[in-house]
Every structure is written in C-alpha cells, then in structure tokens.
Symmetry: D3
Subunit: 322 residues, 6 copies
C-alpha cells in the first residue's frame, strides 16, 4: 500500500490514517495519574512525536510489545506544542510489511544509490590496485564485511546516518579520489584506493546498528578506543595476512590514524605523505557536500536553512533562481 502522509509535510490540524515506523515507544504515567503512550513515529523524511492519551490496562499491555523498527498503522491528528508539531494518536495497531504490502524504503532514510551497485564499484576499484598486498588487504576486508556494508549507517547521527550510508560515503570518496589522481599526477592511485576503502571500516565495530541502518549507540570498544584506533589495531593482522612489509603496514595504519587530521577530532598524528593528506580532504569534502545537500532540503529559494550544528552552526542559503 502506498504511503500518503510523510512526516516532513504534515500540517497542523490535519487528520490522517497511515503507516509509520516505531522509535522509542514507552508507557508513561502523567501528572493526572493516567497512563498514556509516548512514541516517536518515523518515515524516510523524518520523525515526529506522538501521544496516545488514556491508555487502559489491556491496551497498555499490547502497546508495551511494540519495539524499535516495528511498523504501525495509526489514526491521528496533527497538533502543535510550543511550536513543535505532535501527533495526537486516536488508534494504533502493529502492521506487517508483507501483509500490508509496505515498501520498507518508505520508512527508513537511505542512501540514494543501490548498495549492491555501490559495493561492486568499490570491489572493481579494489581489484584494480596493482600492489598485490594492498589489493589483498582491500578485497579481504570487503569480502568479510560485504553484508554489514549493505546496510550500515556512516554515523550515529550527522552526515551519512542512514541506511547504507557508510557505503555511500566510501563510494563517493573513491569516485572523487580517483579523479584527484588524474589532476595530481604525483599521487599513487593504489594508496588512494586502499586508503579510502579501509579508512572507516571499523565503524562496523564502533557503532551498533540493526539491519535497517538504525544505530542505537556505540559499542564499548567504540567508546573506549574509537573507529580510528580500532582500524589501526585491526590493520596489523590484516596486513600480516596480506604479506605486507612493515613499512607498508605502518603507512596504512598511519593513513587510518591521520585521516581526521585534527587531534581534537581523534587523529593523534597528522598526514605525513600526500595520499594520507588527500584522504583527509576527500573525507571532509564528502561529509560537507552531504550536509549541505541535507541542509537545503525543504528550504525555499531566497531563504536560509536553520543553523546546522555539524556545519559550524552556519545557515545555508538557497538562491531564488534554483
């Protein structure tokens, strides 16, 4: 069944019946001693808070079975509280993706390209690496993580926090990195490809994510060490398996370690060879381009977006002529 109402276009006063995905459902007791149901309702365009008031015991037991990622059908109206829209839910039931003929893609924010196609792009470029050791490091890592890459987000929040967002980030960086080698001909293409593919691979172990690409937080080792150092540690074993020399191993570890450039963003060293430097700029540029595009969604020509925290609190401008 086609979804009709999307979160980012709901109007105050509107009445609606439609499907949404569930986030953070919880039974609460109000100041008036009555039980109500508090829930966040999501689709690919965003999320909105909902309340179902006056929940009795039987209904409460049913509702308490709903969990993150479930789909529900609701009947509700759009109200406003302190300038923020809210859904006043009249009826709610658990839905079933297949029985209700729902497209999962309508309910989760996802990268705009197909995971399979993106993975193949990376795979082809990895095969293209002429240094045997570097090639093996990349193809081993891609093979090992093929499934997780197909859905992992690139972050818990901020840029690329979406289904297959990590893969999308890697793909566009690689696309750009290969072009950079055409302009800056002193760069070694092998190292650029390998650096891009490996630089964020341990995000797969830093972030906890379900198969919808929705992250519930960081792992313990994600918190205690971070993906940059996890990737540096892990490279020791990968490089050994691929038969890399100590120098090349250390250089790959350095690329991972230095790619955030600034100590306060997690890089204890700064790039010390050109391909490591490029890697940093590819990473930055891709994050920024993603954030600018996201910031301008829904902004009218001649106006500015809200202030965007990840863009140093800037407001982004959309010209009238676009």
């Amino acid at each position: 069944m086609n979804k009709e109402y999307y979160v980012n276009t709901l109007q105050v006063g509107e009445e609606l019946t439609d499907f949404f995905m569930v986030k953070s459902p919880s039974i609460k007791v109000g100041a008036n001693h009555k039980t109500y149901f508090d829930i966040t309702l999501c689709d690919k365009t965003g999320e909105i808070n909902g309340k179902k008031w006056d929940v009795d015991e039987v209904e409460g037991q049913n509702l308490s079975k709903l969990k993150d990622g479930d789909l529900v059908k609701i009947k509700a109206s759009v109200s406003e509280w302190n300038g923020i829209k809210q859904l006043r839910v009249a009826r709610i039931r658990k839905a079933d993706a297949s029985a209700d003929s729902l497209e999962m893609a309508d309910y989760i924010k996802a990268a705009p390209e197909d995971p399979g196609v993106m993975f193949d792009f990376l795979w082809d470029k990895a095969q293209d690496i002429s240094d045997e050791g570097l090639r093996k490091v990349c193809t081993d890592a891609l093979e090992e993580n093929k499934e997780k890459l197909s859905y992992y987000p690139g972050a818990m929040r901020n840029h690329h926090a979406e289904y297959a967002g990590l893969l999308y980030h890697m793909k566009r960086m690689l696309d750009m990195g290969i072009r950079a080698c055409e302009v800056y001909t002193n760069l070694d293409r092998d190292w650029v490809i390998c650096g891009v593919i490996m630089h964020d691979m341990e995000k797969l172990n830093e972030i906890d994510s379900n198969e919808l690409g929705i992250s519930s937080g960081y792992t313990v080792k994600g918190n205690l060490l971070g993906h940059i150092v996890l990737g540096t540690i892990r490279m020791e074993e990968r490089a050994k398996k691929a038969g890399l020399s100590e120098e090349k191993t250390v250089m790959l570890q350095h690329m991972i370690l230095a790619h955030h450039y600034e100590p306060e963003f997690g890089s204890p060293v700064r790039p010390m060879f050109p391909e490591a430097e490029l890697l940093h700029y590819l990473d930055m540029l891709d994050a920024k381009m993603f954030d600018f595009e996201a910031a301008l969604e829904g902004v009218d020509g001649g106006h500015f977006s809200e202030r965007i925290r990840t863009l140093d609190n800037r407001m982004i401008y959309k010209p009238t002529f676009k």
Copy 2:
C-alpha cells in the same frame, strides 16, 4: 650556454664558474673596516648566499650597479658557515641573457606548465559557463589580466610562490573543480568555474611582483585590505558591468569573501552555499598538494623532510619503494 652548476647540488669545496640570478646585492663594511660585497645567488633550484671579500673602490662602484633580477657570471668556491653553504666569490661580472645565450627558465622557479596553455584552459572553461553574466565576469577579468597572469606568483612565499604560480593554482583547482561536479551532481558547474577563476584575482593588486614572478612585498592596499576584500570590492563594479542581479553579485562576493573559511585566515564569513564550500576545499587541496610535492624534493626514500612551516610543521615521509 647551458648552466652546469645548480644551487641545490653544490658541494662544499667545489670550485665553479657559472651564471646565476642576483637577489639583494649590497656593499658592506666588515668589523675589520674592509669593504665586501654581499649577494644572494639564485637559479630555478634555489638560492645561496655569496660574499666577495676585499672589494676596492672602483670595483665597489661597479658592483653597486647590480640589481635584483640581473644575471651574473661568477667564479667561486663553496664553503660552509655554521652548517650553511656559502659561495666565496673570486670574480663576478654582469651577464647578458642574449649575448651569453642564457635560458631565463634556468634561473627562475617556474610553474611546470606553459602559461599560454594554462590561460587557454581557463579561457575555454570560462567560455563554457552558461549563465551569461557569470561568463562575462570571468572573460572580462581574464582578458584584463592576461599579461599579468602569465608571470604572477601565487604568493610572496609559501605555496605557488613562483613564476606563473597563480595561474597554475587556478588551472589545477579548475581541473579538479570540474571533476567534483561530476561526482557531486547537485553542484552548479557555472558557479564552480566562476568562483575558481575569480577567487584570487586581486592577488594581482595585493602583491608587488616583477615580470619574473618575483615578489618584493605587499602593496599598501594589500596590507590594509588584503586580496580577499579587494576582490570583494572589485566584484561590485565587474558585476554591474556584466549586468548581474544584486543576488548573484552578492553571492559571487560571498564566494570570494568566504574562500579562506577561517576568520583568522581572512574570511569574515564562512561558506553558505555548496559551491562556496567546494571552492574552499579546492583551494586547500591544491595548496597542500603543492607543498607536499615541494617538501619531498630531494628527500631520499625511507627518510623524512625537514619540518615544513606551511604544513603545520610536519615532516613529510618518502617511502623506500618510490
């Protein structure tokens, strides 16, 4: 005549007779009350200090006619003072590029591509702009500055401080910018091209340079306002002439104003639309790639360069396998 000895390969103890370019010549009186001649001798590979001791009055009058950019023929030997090489000059005479059949290119550090070819590249891309106003802004500015661009350095020191260095900087940024539009398809190619061509144009009025691309300092308005603000001011008149709307004028001024990104590097605002953001990264990347390449000149495999001030004091590594 072919030059035989180059500054970057001189050995202590070597005796030589060859041509060099003059910088900062000056007659001085030593602690022993005798007159000597102090000079910096340059070629395309670098520069070295020279001293001619015991200069008598007649010779002194001749030497005092030498000025920056002259070519001289010297007979000298290489000594060392506090670990720094120096030329002990025995004989020196003014040379003449044509009479002595000298190639100017041997004596000045120059961009590795031909100025004419680089200019044509910019011109072609400017012609390619579909917005009539933006196109006229670019072609007018290129036409007006064609001659100065053919030799102007990109900086007084640091990256692109070389003959035609500014043009080389613009050319590589543009080459990269156009490729970025292929990956980030939301970008407007017209604005990227125009932004790259115009962003540093007022360096031509900020820096004083002779026709060899050697800068002797900043102009008064270079110091009081800087090329970023000069470019923003100048755009007012250029845009009016090209018939741009106020919005487009302000946007172009914003691109110039924001391209250094950080307030402490001269940008009072940060980029507020995607093409302005890209412009900053193209600028950074080109400067960094230039500096890395320069840093590694003459470094042996398996070793690090000196600490490079413009690269946040990093030492750059050259692998053994290159």
Copy 3:
C-alpha cells in the same frame, strides 16, 4: 491615555486592563484540540507572553488580523508558569494610537535622547571636518540616511537594539572620540570623526527594521557579507564621488574593515593606524557601557544581576550605597 501597568513591574495575581504593543501573534491548537491565541505583549520596559484560551472561530478570525507593532487593549491577570510570569488574557481588542490617545514612546524601547538632536550633533561634527573629501563622505552619507537613522536600532538584539539605537551609539562614540583627541594629541580629529560616523552605516542595509526600530532579522546580503564588508564595498563609490585619493579611500575602508579588531568578530584585518585603533576602542567602550547600564536596571543594591551573555556571562554588581 496614560499607561498604568508596565511589564517590568507586573505582580503575580494582579488583574489589569491596559494597552500593550503586539509581537508574534499566533492562533494555535492545543493538546486538548481547542484553539487558543498566543501573543507577546510589549511596552518600553520589556515583554511578556500572553494566552487567550478557548478562542472560537469568529474571534479567531478577528485575532488573526493582528500583526507585529499593533497596539491592543487587554483585560488580563498575571499568572506564573515554571517561574516565568504570563498574562492570562480575558479580553483583547485592537487599539488605535490616536483614538485612544496613546504615546508611542510608552510602547517601544527607545534611546534616551531625541533622534533629531542626536542627528544634529553628528551633522555639526561632520561639518567641522577640515579635509574636504572626508567631510563630503560624511555629509553625503548622513543626508542620504537621515530618515532611517532616526529610528534604526543598533543591533537585532544585544546592545543598542532599540529605537534610534544606532544613532545613539554613533552619537556617544563621537562625543567620546572628540574628547580622546584632546588627550591623545597625535590623533587626527578629521579621521576620528569620519571613522565614527561611517563605521556602522551599512547596518542600515544589514538589518531589516520597521519604523519602530524593531528588527525582524538580517537581510540576505547582511547574512552573506555582513555590515563591515558592505560598508567597505560601499565606501568605494562614496569615496569616488567625494573625490578622495586612492590612499584615503583605502584608509577609510580599512577603518571600517578593522573596527571589530578580532577576526572571529568579523574584522579580517586589525587596525594599522592610530585613528583606526581608537575607533575600535570607542566602539567597544560604548557597547560595554550600554550593556552595564542595562544589566543593572532593576537590580537592588548589594546584589548581582543575572549572568549577561553579551558581557562574557558576567554577573554585574550594584553596590549597597547607590
């Protein structure tokens, strides 16, 4: 009619009937599905939120015609919500300044001196400038902007965000600047006067303000370039018209450009001659004196004000003996 109740002296529990100015009126739907009217009520002493509950359709249509800057008569009582006072509005009607014999000055925060008198002060000092070009720059700019200066605020918020606040800021800075020339006799009075008059002139194009001196935000070019750079650009044309030499033009542009001193506050260069340096300190001192005075309004002797954001989060002390 004389206003009786002022915002800054309302007491919880008080019942009142009086006039106020309207800000941000809006019809909203509550969690209980009922319509209510949300409004900010202002006078020269401050502002307070008001709610009129249970608005029916007819009344809603009337209320929806109210707009920013209108005057209304209300009957209301003062309640408290989370420690913040609120007006519970029982009746509300649009008022008419002349029919109701209201003094606009009771309803808007305004500079404590008469705009006409302040303008004349600036005008006299401008006439006093001995350099013909500088004098013409000032008198032209004052003439051109005489009307807007009579009501423009000096800022959107913070210091001098009030009716004729910009003029008040210019007037007191100039008063102080002229005295500084008596103490620091190496200063050139012409440049001090001209710098003060011109330094913030483009706030008139950076900020959007109605004729009550109430700002609704920044203009597009205010956001993309800022008043400092707008003033620098605009000076190019003003100086040309006044026949200034290039040197003097660039110096005036420098004064405007440098007057915030710190790059992170919008000045890409720092002052490079004494009058430019003084201008910065006059600006700072006037802003600080304004903020201190405002901070201490309503503070009792022996106590501290709240923390003031614009004063680096300081609490300001009022001695017991004052």
Copy 4:
C-alpha cells in the same frame, strides 16, 4: 655640552666623538684568545652595541669599573654586522655629568611631560574625590610614593618603559577617565579617579628600577605574585587605615584585580561594575596609543613600521599626507 650624534641616526661608515650612557659593560675573551670590551651604548633615542678590541690588562682594569648608568665619552666608527649597526670603539673614558656639562635628559628615554606637573595633576584630582575614604586611600598612596613615581618606568619593556613612564600612564588615563564620566553620566567619578590612581601602584614593588627609570628586572615578589595581586593585598591595609567599609574595600580590590580583564593577562576575575570596566579600557587605550606613537617614530610617509610584538605583530602605517 650638547650631544651631537644620536643612536637612531648613526650612519654606517661615520666617525664620531660623543657621550653615551653605559649598559651591560663586560670584558670578554675572543676565539683568538685576545681580550676585548663589549658594551651597549645608549641615549634617549635608542641603544647600540659597541666593541673595543685588543684591550690590555691595564685598560681592562679601568674598563671593568664602568657600570650600568655611567656616562662615557667615546671615539668610534660605525660598522655593520649581519645588517645590524655596531660601534667600533677606538677610545673610551668615563665622563662626569657636571664636569662635562651634560644633560641627563639626552641620555635616557623619558616621558614627554614634567614629573612634577604630572604628579600635581594626579594630586589635584585625588583631592577632588568626594568620598572621604576613597580620597584618603589615594592621597596616602600618592604621598607615600611621590618620590618613586617621579622616575619609575611603567614597565620593564613595552609601553611606558621610560623615565616617569608610570606617572605618564596614570596621568593620561586619568585625563581620559574624567572625560569619560562626562559622556557616560551613570559612572561614579570618585571610583574612576581612585581606580586609575591605584590600579598600577604596586608596579613600584613589582619592578626593580634605578632612579633613571631603568629597570633591571622583577623583584622576587613581582615574579611570585605580580603587581595586580600585590596591589590587591596591599589595599587591605590601606583601606583599613582610610576607614573604608568592607564593601568598598572589596570593590577597590576588585577594580585592581580585574583591570587586565583577561585571565591570561593576570586578572582572575573580570570587571563586575561599570567603573571597573571603564578602568580596563582606559588602561588598554593608553597602552595602545603609546605603542602606536612609538611605532611610527622614524617611519616615512607611505610606509609601514616593522612588525610590533606588543601590537599583536602588526605593522603600523604612516600616510603620505602626514
């Protein structure tokens, strides 16, 4: 006898016989095993290094009696070493100010106003304070320190490091502070006068200075506590003696403590009432005006000064029309 040659106008090659003041005299042994005499020669315009070569034992014993602040007559010629001028001394003898009819004022850098006149200015203003306690604090402190104030420098180096420099600093700040009270009429003139007079008084115990206003360094307590905290401690006793209330005592201590404003410049708290805030700006402005004037000494019109460390490394511009 009138001095003819001044340090700031010596030319390389010049021969001269004239008087100078001695600084850091020392007998040294060169690499050639011979003894020479190393000395800094000063007058009110600056200082220059001098060497007397080949000093024999007898002369050495004489020279070793010279000490800081002595006057000498020398015969010497001006040479240059590494671009820095130096005096090659042929003859040197101790001079006697009265026998040689020398004006001490020619030999030391001094404030441009008479110490007695400046002191009287401060004294008059102190008498003018209407609060009895504050008045007594000021007059007591001025009386106690009258003699030291007549010659103490305002700093070891940087602004006001000159004979009677501290007094000059106090005098001009006070002159400006009183005028500020005319513009900012909410300020309490008593506190402004008292704050200015007392704010730097403990520099007299922080800095070691001889009676020529030449400082040889900081005292132990100057290093361990600094003049700001010394002044705050000392005020405890002064205030008690003047019968000030605890509140007024603490407020005066706060003014002293906060007058540098920034923690990293020695103020652990920031100003918390308007007079304390003004005091900071009076202090800054006076230091800056002093430094700008000093920076422009000897700079030609249309040129910039060297970079000035105390002015955030700025170059200062002197216009062509001055």
Copy 5:
C-alpha cells in the same frame, strides 16, 4: 524512625509515606488559576521535585512557613513528566527531628568520614611541621575555623559539594601529599602540609553555607575576589601574626595563588617551586577521584555513566567484572 524510601531508588507508580528534607519550597498559581505547592524533596541519595495540587488558602499559609532545611513527612506517589520522576504529594506536614526520631545523616549528603576524626588528622599533621612559623599559620587557621570546617561543603556544586566536604578534600589531599614526599624526596614536607591545609581555607568566606553543609550561593566578596585571592590577602595578616619572613609569606601566598594552575581557572600565576606544583596535582587528583567515584554510583557493570560535565563531558565506564 528509620527512613524507608530513598530518592535514588523510587519507582514510577510507587505510593509512599516517608520523611524528606525541604529545598526551595514555593506557592505558585497555575495556568488554571489554582494555587499549588512546588517543592524539592531531598535525602542523602539525591533530590526530586514534588507538587501538591489544589492548595486552599489555609493550607497555603501553613506551607508558606516551610523553609530550606526543614524536614517534612509526606504521603505521595511517583509519577513521570518528560522522562523525569516527580512526586505527586497528597499530604505533607512539618516533621521534627527529635520528636520523629530522625537521623539527620539520612537527609544530607555527607563525606564518608567523621568530621572530628578528619580534623584531628589535619591537626596532628600541622603539629608535625618543623618550621615554627608555618606550624603556627596552620594551627591558628585550624583553630579559628574548627567549627565551620566540621560542616562546610567543598563547593557549591561539583566535587565535594556535601556536608564536611571541604574537610574531606583537605584530609585526602594531605594523606596523599605526605606519601608523595616519601617518593619525591627533594620535596619539603613542611611546605606540602602547610600548602594543603591553607590552600582552600577561604572557601569558608567565599561560599555561603548553612550548618548542614548546604550552600545557597557565593558571598559578595566570593564573587568579586574568589577564594584564591581571598586566601592570598588573608595570608598577609596570618603570616605577620606567625612571625614569618617576607620571603616565606610571599611563598605561601604564591602557593595559594597558583594552585589552580591555569589562568582561566583563577590562578594568575603558575607554580614556581616544586611544593606549589605538587599542591596543584594533589588538588586535581582528589577532585577527579571524587568525581569518578560519584559518576559510577548506580552504574551497572558493562555500562557507561551519563556524560559528566565536571569531567570534561566524559562518560565513565564500569567493567563487567566489578
């Protein structure tokens, strides 16, 4: 009577009758025009907001007599508002510690060691100082402040903000400081002991605290000068009384002044002798150990605490095996 319900273990939905301590009681009028009673209820484990709705005039008059630090008996139920627990109070009456047989220790957060024992520890170590003057400074100060030390908190909030918290801080620092002298044998034990005992003594005059160790804010001189400078001023008189030399006086003042190390944390100078340096680290370490212990209270094994503001926003980890 034994307390049964503690704040940190209350469950939503629970009904309870128990004693709590009162904080910030206040009568308020709601949006519905009805009067309610707003109160914070505390015990040694934390605090929780409570509301008693629909308070009539008679009850209101009774409730308005409750003040900070009173004990009350309440009947209430636990509800939740925006994820924060709240007590809905049905009945409330003032209690009496002795009549109701209450242990004050149940109601206030207190240091885990007995104040008397801790004081004796400090006293013994002070008696142990071999330098007579330093010993007298310490014993005088301890004697003078014995009573206040027995209950004063170490801070208004953050580390050691609890009954006898200041004493606990001094005691553990001293315990550690004495051990440090065993390892770093160049340290002078006398100065370490004296520095620890005196460094925070003026917190007793910076902070306002009642005898339960609950602080209501800073004193006027606490705000205007801070405990570091207050301690430095006060030492002048203490040292004089103890017959210390000027050098030792200044050194003690320096230890107090420098103990926060960073200017932005209130130290205008940094430590300049080893015992002053150690004092800083003892202070830091004790604060950090306190905060880590507090952060981990109630955290389950294998989980992280919330982000802790005083620990640079870190989340603290509790291992599974503890």
Copy 6:
C-alpha cells in the same frame, strides 16, 4: 683515571687536560678556506662545543674516524663566544675506557638509581598482581625488554632523557601509584600496576637509542604512529597471548591510549575509568617533579632558574633558606 674537569663548572680562561665523550664530530672548511674540526664534548654534567683550528690533511683523516659516543682526551682552553663558552682544542686523541681506566658513569647523564634495582622493583610489583592475565602481560613485557630497559632514555629530550631514564620514570610512577591505592581505596591496584608498567613500553620502539641511553631520533614508525598507538597495537597480541578477555584487552589499550589525556598531546580519547585517570596524573606528576629538580640544579638561593620550555616557560624559584 678520575675525571677532574666537568662541563658545568668550566671557567673562561681555564686551561685543561681531561677526558670527554664525543658528539657530532665534523670536519669543516671555514670562510678563510682552512680546515677545522668541530665537535661537541660531553660528560654527565652537560655538553660544550669545541673547535680545533688549522687541521691538516693527515690529522683530518684521523679525526674523521671519531664517532658519537667515543671517548677522547683533549688539551684545551675555555673561551667565550657571544656569551657562550667554547673549548679551543689544542690536542685531541681517542681514548680507551679500559686502557685509560675511565668510569663510563662520568660521561653520561644517568638516572640516580641502579637499573638492576629499579627493574627488580618493577618485577616484584608485577608478580604481585592478582589477576593472572594482567600479571602475565606485565611479566612477559618486562622479560622481553629487560635489556633495553636497563639503558633506554625516557625521551629524546626533556624529562628523563638520560641513561635508564625510562626505567626511572616507570619506577617512581609505580612507587607513587601503589601509595595512591592506599588513599583512594576504590582503585584496583592490579590495574594501576599494569597500567604504569605498560604505558610507555613502546617508547623502546619509538625512539632510537644506543646502549648509552643517547637517542639519535625517532624511528619511522615512531614518527608515523607514536609510542601511544604503537603500544595500543602491540597490546592486541600481548593480551591474546596472556589469555585476556576482550573487555580487559580493550581496557588496557584504553589506558595506554588515554594516558596523555589531551588530544593535542597524542591521546585520541580521555580516561574513562578511575585507574586510567590516575595513570595520567602519575605520569604528569613524575615528569613535573623531574623537570623541577633539573631546573633548580645550579640555581642559587633567592634566585630563579632560566625559563624552562617544558614547564610552560616558567622560571623556577629556589628559596634563600635552602
């Protein structure tokens, strides 16, 4: 043979014959075209530059065989150049430690405790660890590195740059760490011991050092990764061998990774459990105590040391009474 002259007590003019250790020997050609020998001469108290002038070809060939760490016997006199002492060498010959009966300990700066005794201290404490895995990690690492630890410096320069300096650093930190566990009883002693022993172990692979504890620089992997990350990587394998759980492995890696605390000093994460926090403070305190002691060597009572770069440029004070 007993050494008589030590570097830190040489006087200008003194003639001496004694043994020194060689550093950076080099044959150079002067401005006068003559060959001379330039050398640094060291003993345990410091180092001094020496020159032997007029070296002929035969002698030059002999001298060119000297290398870092050789011992030489010289005849020389002490001169001074620009305020810096220098040895003018008349005769020089290679010495032989055994033939000349020299004590190596006279020639190298060394930790004040015996390496064997210090190692045993660490070994005993490691044996004391009750957690089997942690114990094995420590004892394995100590066994593996026993020899290198006996001479390795703790740094290239700065604190603990001396023979067995690393071991001395570990030993004193451990001594202090164990005492800290007595005061802060919530700390787990096992983790403190293990953290101290392992935190800097990879300095053995970051720094290049000969067996005299003299470092010639960083290794390639020292530069590209640093000892903190090297230690974190290496722990992966050590922990596996010792059978540690993943959690404990990650915690140990975190301790190493976080021990510099500040990102700009190389720690990409900050400590997240109490033992990791303590480790940082033990490290800081030991470095500071070392630097303070070194700074005060040779300073007279009542005076300050030079400014010490590693102590934030502080001058350190030595009291008169010590």
